[in-house]
């Protein structure tokens, strides 16, 4: 079948590009570039977590950073107490997942409507921000880990090879790990979305009432989706804490939360590759803008271009108004209409599949 064939080609392409990227980057680029790319990979995993929850599950979570931050803090705190990274890594996935499950239970089984879901998740992450922010004193500690309040937790020990404390993963190792993890997340989610479960959650997104009248309990499916998304975000948070050896409460902040949503909107909801592209693109832009600091003087343009939030605001508005479907789906549409016009419209357009890439 044509659609299936295209689907496989797409998958193969992503795999090939991913592996080439994984192998070539450390050989071609200097360490500072590798380091920068590592954080892009980590953030892309975070983007994928929202791509699943919002793009496929239809759950607008405005507080995805809550799970990301919880993952980072859990790893840091556990690491100072345990010293060997296997358990902290697991906890950094389990704690945010459990938190997502608890929060999701009240939201979905309490039949909270979509808009309030956004409000609640945003509020939760801001509460976490404020709570952690006010734990600066020495009396705030968990075991031997001081929370550090607004100063954050510095000097977080890096991941080590499982079971071997004496073999920490170096910077290049982190790049391999983050890239491999991103690829695994991508292909794992593709599998999930092609499964029974994945097709049902897309059905619920399309028409919750109909799914219910067919005998599916939307609450349970949404809760499961939300929990998986929480676990993924937590895992990304753990890698992030490793990457900078540092975590601070800004990880829970409004800017971080909004950014994840922008990645998904720019890249395209209902796709997986879109949010990855959106995330990497915006991250790259952030770095580029940050490097372009105004060198004194009163050059208005330089000042405007150095104001990253302003630029993101403009990008967001431009996308919502002009490219509402996001980059990847729009490019797909353009490609399809080009193909169709070449075939003189004789061929019927292939409809999108639920799990299109």
């Amino acid at each position: 079948m044509n659609a299936r064939w295209l689907n496989l080609v797409g998958l193969g392409l992503v795999g090939a590009v991913g592996i080439a990227f994984l192998v070539l980057v450390p050989r071609v680029f200097e360490l500072d570039v590798v380091l920068e790319l590592t954080v892009y990979m980590i953030m892309a995993i975070l983007a994928l977590s929202l791509a699943l929850i919002w793009g496929y599950g239809g759950i607008l979570c405005f507080g995805q950073s809550a799970f990301f931050g919880l993952g980072a803090y859990t790893y840091a705190i556990a690491m100072f107490n345990v010293g060997e990274s296997t358990l902290p890594l697991l906890l950094a996935v389990i704690v945010p997942a459990a938190f997502a499950a608890l929060l999701g239970y009240f939201m979905f089984y309490g039949r909270i409507s979509d808009v309030y879901l956004g409000v609640i998740t945003l509020t939760v992450t801001l509460i976490l921000f404020n709570s952690v922010n006010s734990t600066a004193g020495p009396e705030f500690h968990i075991g031997s880990a001081r929370l550090g309040g607004f100063n954050g937790i510095p000097g977080i020990p890096p991941l080590n090879f499982p079971g071997n404390k004496a073999a920490p993963i170096d910077l290049e190792g982190m790049f391999y790990l983050a890239t491999a993890a991103l690829l695994a997340t991508y292909f794992g989610l593709r599998l999930l979305l092609a499964s029974r479960f994945g097709r049902i959650i897309v059905g619920i997104r399309e028409n919750e009432r109909r799914a219910e009248l067919l005998g599916y309990d939307p609450r349970a499916y949404k809760l499961a989706t939300f929990t998986i998304g929480g676990a993924l975000a937590g895992f990304a948070g753990c890698l992030f804490a490793n990457w900078g050896n540092f975590v601070s409460p800004t990880i829970f902040g409004l800017a971080q939360s909004a950014q994840i949503i922008i990645w998904v909107i720019v890249g395209g909801r209902g796709t997986l590759i879109g949010p990855i592209v959106g995330c990497i693109g915006i991250q790259w832009l952030t770095t580029a803008l940050g490097a372009n600091q105004p060198s004194g003087g009163s050059d208005l343009w330089a000042k405007i271009f150095a104001n990253a939030p302003l630029i993101f605001g403009i990008i967001l508005i431009a996308f919502v108004l002009l490219v509402p479907k996001g980059l990847v789906p729009t490019l797909g549409d353009i490609g399809q209409s080009l193909l169709a016009s070449r075939g003189k419209g004789a061929k019927r357009l292939q409809p999108k599949r639920a799990e299109e890439s």
């Binding site: 659609a3 029974r196 097709r199 049902i200 897309v202 059905g203 399309e206 028409n207 009432r209 109909r210 799914a211 219910e212 009248l213 067919l214 005998g215 599916y216 309990d217 939307p218 019927r348 292939q350 409809p351 999108k352 599949r353 639920a354």
Partner: protein
């Protein structure tokens, strides 16, 4: 006489001060085909919503095979074997026809068996050509067929059809009547419809709703002759 398949006792639904359904005692035998008629606002759709768990009755009971389902969740009722085709087609617009039917078939079947059921159902509702099209791009009549396919693929014991012939061409109405009679060979149905031609094609027994209560229950012929029914309902059509 055998126990009824579906029974309601004193079933009522109030929205604030509006009493949409009042003290309805309704009974449907196994394998029966019943038509429900009544003017707009008579409470037919509200009645359907209570039968399927979309609304919780203010008081009274719904018994399905003797089991009280008045307060059950919609998805549990669906699993017990009540399927509904709603008035405005409720389908998965962003997905293909095939994926729509699969979502229904998947609840009972998996793997190749599910695929076989989907193919069979696509044939049955006449959508085998164009099964890969998006449902959102189909015409209203075809969307009705998709929804009927969805309901049939979950293999319910009792099927509720809310205005299945609305917005259909004459030809499609005939086809629908034929399909309804075919479904009735194995399943019980309750059909809400305004089109008396259609009702005459399918039904024997008709229940008339008016202002939230059952006005009268009788055979099609007697209902057509009943002056009270003509007044509240058919009179409008006769005049038109």
């Amino acid at each position: 006489m055998a126990a009824p398949l579906l029974q309601t006792q004193d079933l009522s639904m109030h929205f604030g001060g509006v009493r949409a359904v009042r003290h309805v005692n309704f009974s449907l035998a196994e394998g029966e085909l019943r038509c429900l008629i009544g003017p707009n606002g008579a409470g037919k759709s509200t009645f359907f919503k209570m039968l399927t768990g979309q609304l919780e009755p203010t008081h009274g009971q719904v018994l399905f095979r003797g089991k009280d389902i008045s307060h059950a969740h919609a998805h549990d009722i669906a699993r017990l074997g009540i399927g509904i085709k709603t008035q405005v087609p409720s389908v998965f617009d962003g997905l293909s026809v095939r994926e729509n039917i699969w979502l229904a078939a998947n609840r009972l079947h998996s793997g190749d068996e599910a695929r076989r059921v989907v193919d069979e159902m696509l044939q049955r509702v006449g959508l085998a050509n164009g099964a890969e099209r998006l449902v959102g791009q189909l015409a209203h009549g075809q969307r009705q067929w998709v929804e009927l396919g969805l309901v049939l693929a979950t293999d319910p014991e009792l099927i509720l059809l809310d205005e299945p012939a609305a917005g259909m061409t004459h030809e499609e109405v005939n086809k629908t009547a034929e399909l309804v009679r075919e479904i009735n060979r194995t399943k019980a149905l309750i059909v809400v419809e305004h089109d008396m031609q259609f009702i005459r094609m399918i039904a024997k027994q008709v229940t008339v709703f008016n202002q939230g209560s059952v006005l009268v229950e009788d055979t099609v012929e007697n209902i057509m002759r009943n002056p009270k029914v003509r007044d509240i309902y058919l009179g409008k059509q006769a005049a038109a």
